[in-house]
């Protein structure tokens, strides 16, 4: 438990992605099985215990600490696991006689929690809390309440695994890890043995595991000149999230692009996956066949479960792009054209509810496509995808076979209102900007952006913020209405969460208009007129 606790502590404070990978690599290299496997499972959300709810932990703490002091402390700290970890009485006079025993290993904790029946868990947790220090208590409580949230995605963990694995097996890629991973269960002894060079690659194939997805590159103008239109098929790029639907051998899973299992949040899709296939598509919210703004989908993302009301208000839909497996048959080696034909045939036969096919967009010349792309302002279309007709379905982001070709961005002249410090290498710079537009005589914030400028421009922006600060709120500075930022964004949607009533999608700084007076910036009405519809 101590090693796991040390890892959690180090990850909590590590600002950079590379630093996190380094910490994980070190952990895999120095921690024996099965603890490292359990740690990996805990970090990637593959380990959940339902017996110890936060309310029960709070009650347990209240038996050892004055409830009033506990409540005041919780108000101050804001995180229950951290509050209990810090407040748990360590002094001998509070001890209940367990203090002589050694802290448990992660494996002991996991096995005990798995074996424990309802009602037994809290007694065990109390005993462990007495033997652990505050870092250990924090890690334990985060583990059992299933709320680690320390900035490690499944993808990051797999990247670290691949990096560590390359010490013994230089040929290993993240996608290899991804594919092997999904066939195995925690604590992944076979996976570690393979990556250490101690065993063969574990078999994969059957089961509803995640298959690495094929991703595209943005199409640059200079790329397009060299492409033959006859070699490519075009289809709409829908404005949702890319998903993989895996239904094999009775098991059903819905995965995000990065292999995170999002099945729990979308029962309205999973319920209709009564087939045996692996498909690639776009997850959307659609009402009566009409795609809703991305914002509606956003309400349903990042949730473990979903309420009846959310299912009613934001019904999910999948628009299918591709087929990877039809039953046991692996179609990934076929060309796009062949797979497309198989997809159409399969769809005709199965007719799954809440799903349809993403139509191909016929064209002969690039300029036809340009017109189509720029004319498409309806909800749900982000641009076009170009897929080479002979391309196999390859893992990762190979350059050449697939391109995404987003429609031109919208732009707006806004005024900087607040600036906030960035993270990691940018922590000494004010690099995150909230900007607004005029409504009458006042500015209303319409979005926030932290990209789109060069390092040299960042230095100038940082200086400008420091010299034009009017108020400070912790890490945030309010600035004079004096700098116009031309912001580019993909689309704008009505939003109840923003004061202006509008939310931009993918806003970024397009140009810094040092020359333009703030009062000449755009008005809210201008932005409202850009709402997709």
């Amino acid at each position: 438990m101590n090693r796991f606790a040390a890892l959690i502590d180090a990850l909590v404070f590590m600002p950079s992605r590379n630093g996190k990978i380094r910490l994980l690599v070190e952990h895999f290299a120095t921690t024996p099985d099965p603890d490292r496997g359990w740690a990996l499972a805990a970090l990637t959300g593959a380990l959940t215990f339902r017996e110890a709810k936060p309310a029960a932990i709070r009650e347990l703490a209240a038996t050892r600490v004055d409830p009033e002091l506990l409540a005041l402390s919780y108000d101050y700290v804001g995180d229950l696991a951290e509050t209990v970890a810090l407040i748990w009485p360590e002094r001998p006079e509070y001890s209940v006689g367990r203090a002589n025993s050694l802290p448990p290993s992660l494996d002991e904790v996991v096995e005990a929690l798995r074996a424990a029946k309802r009602g037994q868990v809290l007694g065990q947790v109390e005993g462990w809390l007495d033997t652990l220090d505050s870092s250990g208590r924090f890690a334990l409580l985060k583990l059992i309440t299933g709320a680690l949230r320390i900035g490690v995605s499944a993808r990051l963990a797999k990247t670290a695994l691949a990096e560590w694995g390359r010490i013994a097996r230089p040929e290993v890629s993240v996608d290899d890890v991804e594919e092997v991973w999904h066939g195995l269960s925690a604590p992944y002894a076979e996976l570690f043995a393979w990556l250490e060079g101690q065993a063969e690659r574990p078999a994969t194939g059957s089961g509803a595991g995640f298959r690495p997805m094929m991703l595209s590159h943005p199409l640059e103008e200079e790329d397009r000149a060299g492409l033959d239109p006859a070699a490519y098929a075009a289809e709409w790029k829908w404005d949702g999230i890319r998903v993989q639907l895996a239904a094999r051998g009775g098991e059903r899973r819905l995965y995000s692009r990065t292999g995170d299992d999002v099945s729990g949040a979308f029962p309205d899709i999973v319920d209709h996956m009564s087939f045996d296939a692996v498909l690639d598509g776009e997850l959307l919210v659609a009402r009566d066949g009409v795609v809703a703004p991305f914002n509606d989908l956003q309400q349903r993302l990042n949730r473990k479960t979903v309420t009846a009301q959310m299912l009613r208000d934001g019904p999910a839909w999948v628009r299918l792009y591709d087929i990877l497996f039809d039953g046991d048959e692996d179609l990934r080696g076929l060309s796009f054209v062949e797979r497309r034909a198989r997809l159409e045939r399969w769809f005709e036969a199965v007719r799954p509810r809440r799903m349809d096919l993403s139509p191909l967009v016929p064209f002969d010349r690039w300029d036809e496509l340009v017109a189509l792309r720029d004319g498409a302002r309806e909800n749900g279309i982000e641009g076009l995808m170009l897929k080479r007709r002979d391309s196999a379905y390859l893992a990762g982001r190979p350059k050449g076979p697939w391109f995404k070709w987003k429609r031109g961005a919208l732009t707006l002249d806004t005024v900087m209102m607040y600036a906030q410090r960035g993270h990691g290498k940018r922590s000494s710079y004010y690099s995150d900007y909230t900007f607004g537009v005029w409504r009458g005589e006042e500015l209303v914030p319409v979005g926030k952006a932290y990209s789109g400028f060069t390092d040299a421009e960042l230095i100038e922006l940082d200086r400008w913020v420091r010299n034009h600060t009017t108020r400070r709120y912790g890490p945030v500075r309010e600035v004079e209405a004096g700098l116009v930022l031309e912001v580019a964004f993909d689309s704008v949607h009505p939003s109840t969460r923003h004061k202006s009533g509008l939310a931009m999608r993918f806003p970024r700084i397009h140009r810094i208009r040092w020359d333009k007076p703030a009062h000449e910036a755009d008005r809210l009405e201008t932005l409202a007129a850009m709402v997709a519809g």
Binding site: F13, L72, S73, E82, L86, F138, S427, S428
Partner: protein, 363 residues
């Protein structure tokens, strides 16, 4: 702990006025009426008694200032001409009569020169703690508990989640990180008065004898501490140092500078902050701190509770900090307790990481 407070005889003279009749909270600060002076006033007054040199307690412009010699030296160093009219030094333990009040300064263990103010009037004894801590600090005299009728205590870390771990363990964390990342410089945010010198003495005590590099804002007080006999070892100015020299070096800077423009001169620094606030992970993380060191010059929760026990006052007034929890705790122990609303002391947010060097050093 027992319920001893219930049976403790009241030290206060039965005929004398209750201390809340002669100690008042005015906009200028805590006013001791029969002596005609304020303790740590927030605005310039005629007569001020100053507990210690931190800028939220020691402010410029008072006509008469009474403090320990150490505190006066610090105030002169920091304020120069603006320090005030006449300065009067009073050694620890000596009694001075001011008007109808007998006053004594007693070590508070917070920073060099820090004092509690012991007031006696009309048969009652009141102790105003100023800021204090209970653990070993080689840079100042240790806290002395003084039994009293009313104890006016700080409560900066007045919640039971604040338990400062042993100092040497925290110093060990710093040295471990330096061994793990020998190519990176380690920059530690420390308050210029007290924390800086204490951290240096802790490092020297565990045998760290390499030069320690200082941000310019920290140098004057380190010189003053040295001249007053606190051994700090070899110190070098970081502000003018070459980037190459600072690789693998230990650099101390005011908390506001560690993640700001000043720190850009360092090569890929590990950002640390030494403060009691570092105990709460999310707070440390919000500040962009990679290596939090829980080293504080304030009493933690257990020390606050222990001190209430030690001074055995039947009545406690709780000032700046999280008053509510300590009032609740004291009341549960049979102590009459209330929060004293003093303005002008640092609140939690500015204390954690002040924007300017020299501000909010009290944690």
């Amino acid at each position: 702990m027992s319920a001893a407070h219930h049976s403790k005889p009241d030290r206060r003279h039965p005929d004398g006025p209750h201390p809340d009749k002669w100690i008042k909270v005015l906009p200028e600060g805590l006013y001791v009426e029969p002596g005609g002076f304020y303790i740590d006033p927030v605005r310039p007054v005629e007569r001020a008694v100053v507990t210690h040199g931190h800028s939220d307690h020691a402010r410029p412009g008072n006509r008469h200032v009474l403090a320990t010699p150490g505190t006066l030296a610090i105030m002169r160093q920091r304020m120069g001409e603006g320090v005030g009219g006449s300065l009067q030094a009073l050694d620890y333990g000596e009694t001075l009569r001011i008007g109808d009040v007998a006053l004594r300064l007693v070590p508070a263990g917070h920073v060099l020169g820090s004092a509690q103010v012991v007031l006696e009037h009309a048969g009652s004894r009141v102790v105003v703690s100023g800021d204090y801590k209970r653990r070993l600090d080689r840079t100042c005299a240790p806290f002395e508990p003084v039994p009293c009728d009313v104890f006016v205590t700080e409560a900066t870390f007045g919640l039971p989640v604040f338990r400062h771990p042993p100092d040497l363990g925290e110093v060990g964390k710093l040295l471990h990180s330096m061994a793990l990342f020998p190519e990176r410089s380690h920059v530690v945010g420390v308050y210029a008065l007290g924390k800086c010198q204490r951290l240096i003495t802790l490092l020297r005590a565990v045998g760290y004898d390499r030069p320690i590099w200082l941000h310019g804002a920290l140098e004057p007080l380190c010189r003053l501490y040295s001249s007053l006999g606190v051994e700090l070892g070899e110190l070098r100015p970081a502000t003018v140092a070459a980037k190459e020299d600072l690789k693998g070096a230990l650099v101390l800077a005011p908390p506001a500078a560690v993640a700001d423009r000043w720190a850009r001169r360092l090569a890929d620094p590990v950002v640390a902050v030494a403060s009691g606030w570092m105990r709460v992970r999310q707070r440390a993380r919000q500040r962009g701190v990679e290596l939090p060191l829980v080293i504080s010059d304030h009493a933690d929760w257990d020390e606050l509770c222990q001190t209430l026990e030690d001074v055995a006052a039947p009545e406690v007034w709780v000032t700046h900090g999280r008053e509510e929890a300590l009032v609740h705790y004291a009341t549960g122990r049979g102590i009459r307790a209330r929060a004293l609303a003093l303005i002008g002391f640092e609140d939690e947010d500015s204390e954690g990481m002040p924007e300017k060097a020299g501000e909010g050093e009290a944690s």
